[in-house]
């Protein structure tokens, strides 16, 4: 937007920019209050957070006791490993499945193709709970309750991943593919030598999105994993209770550590993360 009158420093556009920024800055700070205070709670015994508010003696009462308690009371490293394992395996399998399924849906035109796609979208709409209980029964019959593979197996076909992959395939230019076909490439060569390299950045963004999502998964792992050694980090957070009273410091410490990996991954890849997710929805 061009300023109509360039002589005034505080013309209306500038005022709007500054006001918007101030409003948003305040609002964002308020929004991040829970996060900030959780980090604070993990370092300071709760009684002293009042004084932190008033700015006194901040660094004297800082302690790593919360973090030490976390490692003492729970097999935290094992649980972190579980989270990592589950995130990596689920993401990988879902990507592979989505890659081929989405290709099958976009590359060729055949009757009922769009119907299949609509079916996949429909599976995303159905609340996961409707499926979770019977899935639990199936996993039980397979003897996979308490097993990490029991968590992975039912959701390898991920409607979300397939949907995004399809958007990626659709955004690829047809001309290159046609040139390749004229040159006599086989279908698999086209898939791996042309589509895959071109889609790599988008697939990378999708990987991060899926990874973070699986790291934070709660509902389904809650049903399948009940032993502390096999639990994931989000499940472990609710365990720091002592006769009904929640111990804040270790809980906060565990929260911070659980939050760390997705946060770092997100901050590194913010632009790609957000734009992949948004653009596919907007162009859908």
């Amino acid at each position: 937007m061009n300023a109509v009158c360039r002589k005034k420093y505080f013309n209306s556009d500038r005022v709007i920019k500054i006001t918007s920024f101030l409003i948003m800055a305040v609002f964002t700070l308020i929004m991040l209050v829970p996060v900030v205070f959780m980090v604070l709670y993990s370092f300071f015994p709760t009684a002293d957070v009042n004084t932190v508010m008033e700015g006194a003696n901040i660094f004297k009462s800082a302690s790593l006791e919360g973090y030490r308690d976390v490692f003492r009371q729970t097999p935290f490293l094992k649980m972190a490993y579980n989270s990592l394992w589950l995130s990596v395996v689920q993401t990988l399998l879902q990507l592979i499945m989505a890659f081929f399924t989405a290709y099958a849906i976009t590359r060729w035109k055949y009757p009922k193709r769009d119907l299949i796609f609509k079916f996949i979208i429909a599976t995303m709409i159905i609340p996961t709970v409707a499926v979770m209980i019977p899935n639990y029964i199936i996993i039980n019959k397979m003897g996979l309750v308490g097993n990490k593979w029991g968590v992975v197996l039912p959701f390898i076909a991920s409607g979300y991943a397939i949907f995004l992959m399809r958007q990626f395939f659709k955004s690829m230019p047809e001309s290159i593919v046609e040139a390749a076909m004229i040159d006599g490439c086989s279908e698999f060569q086209i898939l791996f030598k042309i589509y895959l390299p071109m889609m790599l950045p988008a697939i990378a963004a999708l990987t991060i999105i899926l990874f973070v999502g699986h790291w934070n998964d709660y509902q389904w792992p809650l049903m399948v994993l009940s032993k502390p050694e096999s639990m994931t980090l989000p499940l472990a957070l609710v365990r720091f209770e002592n006769e009904g009273i929640i111990e804040w410091m270790p809980t906060a410490a565990a929260c911070v550590m659980t939050m760390l990996l997705p946060l770092i991954l997100f901050l590194i890849t913010q632009k790609a993360f957000v734009e992949t997710f948004a653009d596919s929805a907007v162009k859908g």
Partner: protein, 317 residues
């Protein structure tokens, strides 16, 4: 009858009825001959969807008509008694009431707020990226982590919210154990989490508004409010519908926040069908009732989605 060439079609050759029928059967073979690769590629997904989606859903319907005693393993047909029990259960009535309140008071403020924030962020110039990232952070945080976080700051003794309130002379409120405020807390947390996703979507939508229309409106002398009403808002109608649908659908699925923060709330004040479902299945071990709740929710969401999709299609025409 001469052998039918696979690529020739009935209308090309003026075939009689017998030959047309022969053509039809060979089109199935033709289909697989031409499309064997996509079919092959779709098989794994198909298998998984059948095993872990279609079959469980059907099994769920089946279980809802039976009474399954987990301990003895006996299944006895009960007909509609599970449904009758659930529908006359006052806890279920409360759950549904809570959910309706939650949906109304989360969706509308969420969408309005997201749009306003998106517009504000768009007007911020260089700080856009940072603000967008900051707004999105609550989405990155696990639901159980965010549930815990909110419990901290709402704690009646040490929570920051009550401390700030006491500075204004208001007595500390026990937000999560007071039946009047518990649902409000869940609503606020839901909005807090949902803002990031929706703001990002709206920003993407706002970027797609054609500059020419904006310029033309300004030249015609429209003020900002008029520009919004006649140019901006219609241009993002697709995103708005998308956001509305996804928000409403995700409202139906809320579970973790309730489980971590209130376990259904003081006296079922924050109980919702999805949570009650889990309770029935994993605390009371009554699979019949649990699956009847899930079936009813399934149907409700299905109908709702179809209504919304139809309205969306009409709006796009």
């Amino acid at each position: 009858m001469e052998k039918v060439n696979e690529l020739q079609l009935p209308f090309n050759r003026g075939l009689n009825e017998e030959e047309t029928r022969a053509c039809r059967t060979s089109t199935v073979k033709t289909f697989f001959r031409k499309f064997w690769l996509p079919t092959l590629m779709l098989v794994p997904a198909g298998v998984f969807y059948m095993m872990f989606f279609v079959y469980p859903t059907l099994h769920s319907f089946y279980l809802s008509f039976n009474d399954w005693n987990i301990l003895t393993g006996a299944i006895s047909f009960e007909g509609l008694s599970n449904y009758k029990e659930v529908l006359s259960d006052p806890v279920f009535h409360q759950s549904v009431r809570n959910m309706i309140v939650y949906i109304i008071f989360t969706t509308i403020p969420l969408i309005a707020l997201s749009l306003i924030i998106a517009i504000l962020i768009e007007n911020c110039g260089p700080a856009k990226g940072i603000l967008r990232t900051a707004i999105y952070i609550p989405v990155i945080i696990s639901m159980s982590v965010s549930g815990m976080m909110w419990q901290f700051i709402l704690s009646p003794t040490t929570g920051i919210v009550n401390q700030v309130l006491s500075m204004f002379g208001v007595e500390p409120i026990s937000w999560l154990t007071d039946t009047r405020t518990a649902l409000g807390v869940i609503i606020v947390v839901g909005i807090w989490r949902g803002l990031g996703t929706n703001v990002v979507l709206f920003i993407a939508g706002l970027k797609g508004i054609s500059k020419e229309q904006l310029e033309a409106a300004k030249i015609d002398g429209a003020n900002r409010l008029q520009i919004f009403r006649y140019v901006t808002f219609p241009s993002i109608s697709y995103v708005t519908s998308f956001v509305t649908i996804t928000t409403i659908i995700s409202c139906f699925q809320i579970f973790t926040t309730i489980q971590v923060m209130t376990m259904g709330g003081p006296n079922n004040a924050t109980n919702m069908p999805v949570f009650q479902l889990w309770q029935e299945a994993f605390q009371f071990f009554d699979m019949g009732r649990a699956t009847s709740i899930s079936t009813m929710m399934f149907i409700a969401i299905l109908i709702l989605s179809m209504i919304i999709m139809r309205r969306m299609e009409k709006a796009n025409d």
